[in-house]
Symmetry: C2
Subunit: 267 residues, 2 copies
Amino acid sequence: PQRVIALMNQKGGVGKTTTTVNLAAGIARLGRRVLVVDLDPQAHATLALGLDPSEISGSMYDLLIDPSLDPNQVVREVKPGLWLLRAETDLAAVESELAGAPDRHGRLAKVLARLGDAYEFVLLDCPPALGLLTVSALVAAREVLVPMQAQFLALQGVGKLLETVGLVAREVNPRLRVAGVVLCMFDGQTTHTQEVLADLESFFTEARKSQTPWQFARVYRPPVRRNIKLAECPSFGQTIFEYAPDAAGAKDYAALAESVVSEWDSR
Amino acid sequence: PQRVIALMNQKGGVGKTTTTVNLAAGIARLGRRVLVVDLDPQAHATLALGLDPSEISGSMYDLLIDPSLDPNQVVREVKPGLWLLRAETDLAAVESELAGAPDRHGRLAKVLARLGDAYEFVLLDCPPALGLLTVSALVAAREVLVPMQAQFLALQGVGKLLETVGLVAREVNPRLRVAGVVLCMFDGQTTHTQEVLADLESFFTEARKSQTPWQFARVYRPPVRRNIKLAECPSFGQTIFEYAPDAAGAKDYAALAESVVSEWDSR
Ligand SMILES: Nc1ncnc2c1ncn2[C@@H]1O[C@H](COP(=O)(O)OP(=O)(O)OP(=O)(O)O)[C@@H](O)[C@H]1O
Ligand SMILES: Nc1ncnc2c1ncn2[C@@H]1O[C@H](COP(=O)(O)OP(=O)(O)OP(=O)(O)O)[C@@H](O)[C@H]1O
Ligand SMILES: [Mg+2]
Ligand SMILES: [Mg+2]
């Protein structure tokens, strides 16, 4: 069995890619096989894992456009124990190119199915939008993690996000669940942040009474603190554990990886 | 004559709205009449200026859909000397609703033309995308400011951004110019940030030799430092000058407003 998680948030720059890459690295450090699937035409996860985005050698785009291709030929081990199904900028065209195709939302799920159980953890890095690529991720995934910032304006987008998750769960993927929120770039010092955190917590407490995909969602602890090392390591194509293993960012993503793995093992 | 500036960056969460709102407030503080045009279906500028996004009383959406409406009836003075042409979530539909209309990219320009010279400074807050709303802003504006972070992944999107500006300049708006970059959430302490800043500076130095809309673009100084007060004040519907007039965020946006006004006066 596989834990397949979509990291989604239509808001830009909230920590989706940083979380996908470093959570995956944390999982690999715990000795578990993990696949990162880069679904963003910006290809930032691909870049952050050390690949040259202009070197075209088979990518997510090809697999979505031509379902007869074998994804096992495209996936590469980019760090020890960490595999990548890369993106490239052509992916920006996939929405319009597949606009007519009736099976367009299900193609990613089929690609993952062809990879079988080779990877125990699969993390899908979504673009900042609620279009075809993100919806495909929600169709293919079993769970959702929402990276976000503990800021007032960040709360505004959550409703729309959950509406989309609810829609996919009702129409296509009834087993889809929101595992929870990962607070990124956390600046715990202020009343403001604490208030936003409290808002989120009470929202999830209320949700327990609901029959929604986020009924058992939670805020993952500890939050991931703001740490400049996390912004630097992508420019070297390194994960935080390679670049600055003693940094706060490494500690926080190691802790998140522990949570994600242990709650899976004890399910 | 009017200084009409589009604040654009297709990347999300980089400081477009925070800069639009607080630069506008800084300009109003200097005694100049300023209009904020909220072009984002998220309506964050509208929210940050104290309006209730669910209170529908005429908005950007209506003016784009029905060019016979008078924008003077929709614009409101929301702070002393600061007017707002508000957005609301319906704006998300405008791209598909106007998809067939041949004049769709020019409608915003016509709306602004109907407001005449009532406002000396007009700031257009763009959504995180390069779609109809952003392109309309580039057609309507005379200049572009690019809020961005001094981070590696942020640099990756600049090429695409300038490509879009160049396209609009060639096809529709030959007088469009990129005034420059506003560095937001600046964390000046590290080598990384200094390197990204140096990259940007040398890019603009090179651009002097070009015949592009960004030939005379520059990095505005000082950068706007990361300051939690700037993240807090939207939740009170206040600008930084109302909420925390002595904070670093207020100083930095006051300095930016000085630059934007004085370079206009001395043109
Ligand atoms: N905890 C952190 N501390 C400091 N910087 C961070 C942290 N997390 C992310 N960043 C930086 O913030 C920026 C945005 O993060 P990231 O790219 O992960 O967001 P995203 O949600 O994937 O963005 P997009 O919507 O463009 O895909 C990046 O430059 C990243 O390096
Ligand atoms: N200098 C700063 N210091 C601290 N927080 C900031 C600063 N500038 C912006 N922020 C916060 O960062 C978040 C993103 O900023 P903002 O909304 O201005 O970006 P944006 O580019 O308009 O985003 P979007 O792409 O969603 O429109 C907001 O929560 C904002 O309050
Ligand atoms: Mg990303
Ligand atoms: Mg904004």
